[in-house]
Amino acid sequence: MTDNNDYLLKTENLFKWFPTRIGILSRTVAYVKAVDGVSIGIRRGETFGLVGESGCGKTTLGRTLMRLTEPSKGSVTFEGTVISALKGSRLKPFRRKMQVVFQDPYASLDPRQSIGSALLEPMKIHRIASTKSEAKKMAGELLAKVGLNPDHLARFPHEFSGGQRQRIAIAIALAVKPSFIILDEPTSALDVSVQAQILRLLRNLQQELDLTFLFISHNLAVIRQMCDRTAVMYLGRIVEFADTKKLFENPKHPYTKALLSSVPVPDPSKRRELGVLQGNVPSPVAIPSGCRFRTRCPYATEKCLNLPPPLIEVERGHWIECHYDIDFSAASKVEILPRVT
């Protein structure tokens, strides 16, 4: 799924393992496999969704893309440059093009820094504005752009509500005129009414400034509303990937199916085809052999125990990692067809 040159950002076989050390000599006894071989490509101008349960490695993937942690293996390519190998000052121009907005609007702003100074700081780091007054003017414009009063530059974060702070965080991210923004659960900490406003703001900004988003969330409804294409992550790997519409209408992986069926449907007459997910997510330290989802999969067979599932394109642009092509659309009886590989 990564052979097109039109990708703004792509990863190839990206790994992030955190070692667990013990003892006097700090022997490494195990690894937390947070990201375990991820290949994705994000097209210019799209909103790419990344969905999964908490602890599945979505945030670590985002941090690794931004080079906030070093990948253990694999590469990240941004605008044709392999940024996963860049060091120090050569990384800085890419820091300008990639920005991130975090989940918690309370903690992601420095409590003792005024909004104006926070907005000017990235401009200073990347030498965006030539004069101070120009920078100030730009800061005011940014605030207006995210729907805040441009006169509030001298205020401090604690004087704003959660939604306003998230707007400020977005304004700071925009200050360096990036082309790519990672939105890491940008609305999860907000009230529902505020969520909708922020999502609308993000969509407008995307159109206006020609931005590309990586939208990380565990909230399926938000993903469905926002994203063009969506990848489902489970225990450090992408298990299903398709256009958002296709993914939601016709999920092919049992995990995706289970995730979708866990969302309440406002129609009591509709029967659930697959129950709520059984059991807990296995520890990322000890990932099950074969298919990593087999411990919770109602369709698991012996094959799933022994063989890691292949990556298959079931339809054009719709990929899954599964041994079987399960037809969920047959309402009452689920058909399991072994796939020829």
Binding site: L91, V100, D110, I125, H158, E159
Partner: protein
């Protein structure tokens, strides 16, 4: 008294300079003890600054003309009235010391000496703590380990002994005294700053700054240190008193540049040989130390109340 959970988690709400100032004033108005602390510490600093104007600062090593040694008499009459008759008069309100100098004047000359050392020690310790403690907490790994091990060495020995050895080896002078006390003091600040930075650097805004392309120096000294330095400054205020206690203890046990030097511990040291004949000689210098140290401790407590959100209710 009761604080609901969400309020607790939004404690950053309580930050901000204007709110701090407002709360500080409110606290001062409500809490007479803190007010006393502010008054004492401000007064002692003022007295220290003005002392050369009040007392001729060179008078301390001049041979005094009239020795008032009436108390230096082996036969002691333990009547409080006698003590004060002999010790105090209109000219010598606190009596005279063993060199015949006015004890009050000597105490006034001694206050700036002790305060200056205290400020120098504490300020240097804060600077060292912010630099090395910040570095250790932020960088982690081998840098952290190395800095921690050095502080381990200094914390495994009673500070006073290290100071004694340093003063003996480097020679008895006021700068030596300062260096000796500083040598025993800085590790605490490195530890304190390090632990502050450790918790502060996990906050998401630091991650955001890194993603923005901010360098380590900017993140550490421009943001993390500014947000985590308040406990260090509170400790520094409290430590002004402690440093004065340590310095005066060192001069009291004889590690003084000159026995004539007006320094509070030194003045008390003179007094100890006359402790049963002229107790005011040791009483008043010690009392001065107690009051100044108390003042800064009260002030430190007050500042802590302002900046510790958990204590605000």
């Amino acid at each position: 008294m009761k604080a609901s959970k969400p309020e607790e988690s939004q404690s950053s709400d309580r930050y901000g300079r204007r709110a701090d100032l407002k709360y500080a004033l409110h606290l001062l108005r409500r809490n007479p003890i803190v007010l006393a602390g502010v008054t004492i510490s401000v007064a002692s600093v003022l007295l220290a600054l003005l002392s050369p104007l009040i007392v001729n600062p060179t008078s301390w090593d001049q041979q005094p003309l009239n020795l008032r040694l009436c108390w230096n008499n082996p036969i002691v009459n333990w009547q409080i009235a006698n003590v004060f008759n002999c010790g105090g008069s209109a000219v010598y309100p606190l009596g005279t010391d063993s060199y015949g100098r006015s004890l009050l004047q000597m105490i006034i000359l001694a206050i700036p000496v002790d305060l200056e050392i205290a400020f120098e020690v504490v300020a240097s310790a804060v600077v060292i703590g912010v630099f090395f403690g910040g570095l250790a907490g932020y960088k982690g790994g081998i840098v952290d380990e190395a800095i921690l091990r050095v502080t381990d060495v200094f914390l495994a020995i009673p500070g006073i002994l290290l100071a004694i050895v340093l003063i003996v080896v480097l020679g008895r002078s006021l700068p030596t005294l300062t260096i000796a006390v500083l040598t025993t003091w800085w590790p605490y600040y490195v530890r304190l700053m390090r632990s502050q930075v450790l918790s502060e650097k996990e906050k998401p805004y630091v991650e955001r700054l890194r993603a923005m392309g901010a360098g380590d120096v900017r993140i550490l000294y421009g943001h993390i240190v500014q947000n985590s330095i308040y406990p260090v400054l509170v400790q520094a205020t409290l430590d002004i008193g402690s440093v004065i206690l340590t310095v005066s203890a060192l001069t009291f046990i004889g590690l003084t540049p000159s026995p004539l030097l007006p320094e509070l511990g030194n003045l008390a040291n003179q007094g100890i040989q006359y402790i049963f004949t002229a107790p005011w000689l040791i009483l008043f210098p010690g009392l001065t130390i107690l009051i100044i140290s108390l003042g800064f401790n009260l002030l430190g407590d007050g500042i802590r109340d302002v900046f510790d959100p958990r204590l605000r209710r």
